[in-house]
Amino acid sequence: MKRNQKILLSGNEAVAKSAIDAGCRFYAGYPITPQNELIGYMAKNMASSGGIFIQSESELSAISMVFGASASGVRAMTSSSSPGISLMQEEISYIAGAELPAVIVNIMRAGPGLGNIWPAQSDYFQAVKGGGQGDYHCIALAPSSVQEAYDLTLEAFVLADKYRIPAIILGDAMLGQMMEPLVANGKNYKPLAISHKPKEWAATGCFGRKPNVVKSFYLNLGDLEKFNLKLQKKYKNIKQKEQRCEALNINDARIILVAYGTMARLAKEAMLSLREKGIKAGLIRPISLWPFPQKIFQRLAISAKRLVFLVIEMSYGQMLEDVKLAVNGRRRVEFLGRSGGGIPTEEEIIKSSLSLLSS
């Protein structure tokens, strides 16, 4: 394929293609709508790329196989949608506890329970607060376009290896299903030979060297606390270095819309309409949900005198809590959200913004 040539792919396919381009050579997953194109792409292309594809008997075994593959030093991934991701939580905690890199893709549907297959963002808490046991975190990245689904999946593999941490791609059904043009080997593309660099901690067979141990089990009193302190130090470092967001028109803004993923595209459209009406509106789109891009909110909460934040989500207010923590009571933070398959419309966002500014 020619460099910079555009191809038309769905978000699901873009994530899968990106993983293979990133050197992911192990994928296990179990089908679920609305992420089936992802597993379908892997089924079709993983073997011919020299990797292993397994359709597992359940989500539990899929994530367990990813644990095993990653422990042996291979770049590994699984994907599912909300209920399937819930089933994986115990093992994700094990992966975090064993300090293994892995990429987990959640193309969210609406919940709770079996819910339905329409777009939603109601798994935010699960992704950023840790859905499993223990004091751990996963890096969580939220693409808002097919191009970004590709770019951020590459990035997720790099970050996962760099920090030996599970990384989650959090998208919604709209992102997974929609097709858009994508430049797969454009400016952000680096051949990621790093995946085949030996990982000195991996369990690869210890002939002629000391055995490596991959585990998340510390029975002796004191050992686990020591390990947890090490983990916390790592998380602090990631929080310092890896906050990512897109900010538009924020410097003179009186109202800043805050949204992530596909919701941010509608928020951006609303922000631009508000500007056309002469209203000083801005937009912050968190790209890394963990670490949450706190710094920009902290700065604005101190420097901008008259400012209100309007958080917009396809949930009933999950990222809202992180915005409030970052703003820390210094400015007004309001919320607009729908869930269960409903999506806040541009019109609703504009109406909400106008009424906030007049109150």
């Binding site: 297959i117 858009e180 459209e269 999506i343």
Partner: protein, 177 residues
């Protein structure tokens, strides 16, 4: 410029293929484009549909409520999507499969026998391409040349299918003259 298209019909009428081909052609013409299939629990015998947005600016949402162009290949699609047609929009109806001819204020309705024409060419399944031809000629947003360039890849170099589909597209274009 922004064009929001819905294509709807029975499963098996090539609705998704037509939608993807339009999106693909728009991409080749360096326009911003999104394609969103209806991926829900669709009912057999009901409608299958997809939504395409073509624009010269970044696209905010691939889903939308107001339609600029509706290509309706069967009766249920006409009923389902008529309420969403915008003032000044275009409606292409497959008259081979739709009997009632709606009159809607502010909507340019074209009743064209896509399936009959396709059958006349030798394969009723190319009705979607006849519809594409009518759309190309009427809306003049995408060029025939670019669509034709995509056919070899779309039909995996099957010459026979390429020729058949090309004929269908041209027959559709001839309907709008």
């Amino acid at each position: 410029m922004i064009e929001r298209i819905v294509i709807a019909g029975f499963g098996g009428q090539g609705i998704m293929f037509l939608g993807k081909l339009i999106a693909w052609a728009a991409m080749r013409e360096n326009k911003f484009v999104s394609f969103l299939p209806a991926y829900g629990a669709e009912v057999r015998g009901g409608t299958s549909h997809c939504a395409i947005v073509i624009s010269d600016k970044e696209i905010a949402s691939p889903a939308f409520d107001e339609i600029d162009t509706l290509i309706a290949m069967n009766s249920p699609s006409v009923l389902k999507f008529i309420p969403k047609l915008k003032n000044g929009s275009k409606l292409f109806i497959n008259a081979s499969m739709v009997n009632n001819t709606p009159k809607i204020k502010g909507v340019k309705v074209r009743l064209l026998k896509f399936t009959d024409i396709a059958s006349g060419l030798g394969n009723a399944r190319t009705a979607n391409m006849v519809a594409l031809g009518a759309y190309l000629a009427s809306k003049k947003l995408l060029s025939l040349k670019n669509i034709l360039k995509l056919l070899p890849e779309a039909f995996k170099n099957n010459k026979k299918l390429q020729v058949l589909n090309e004929q269908a597209i041209k027959a559709g274009m001839n309907l709008i003259k």
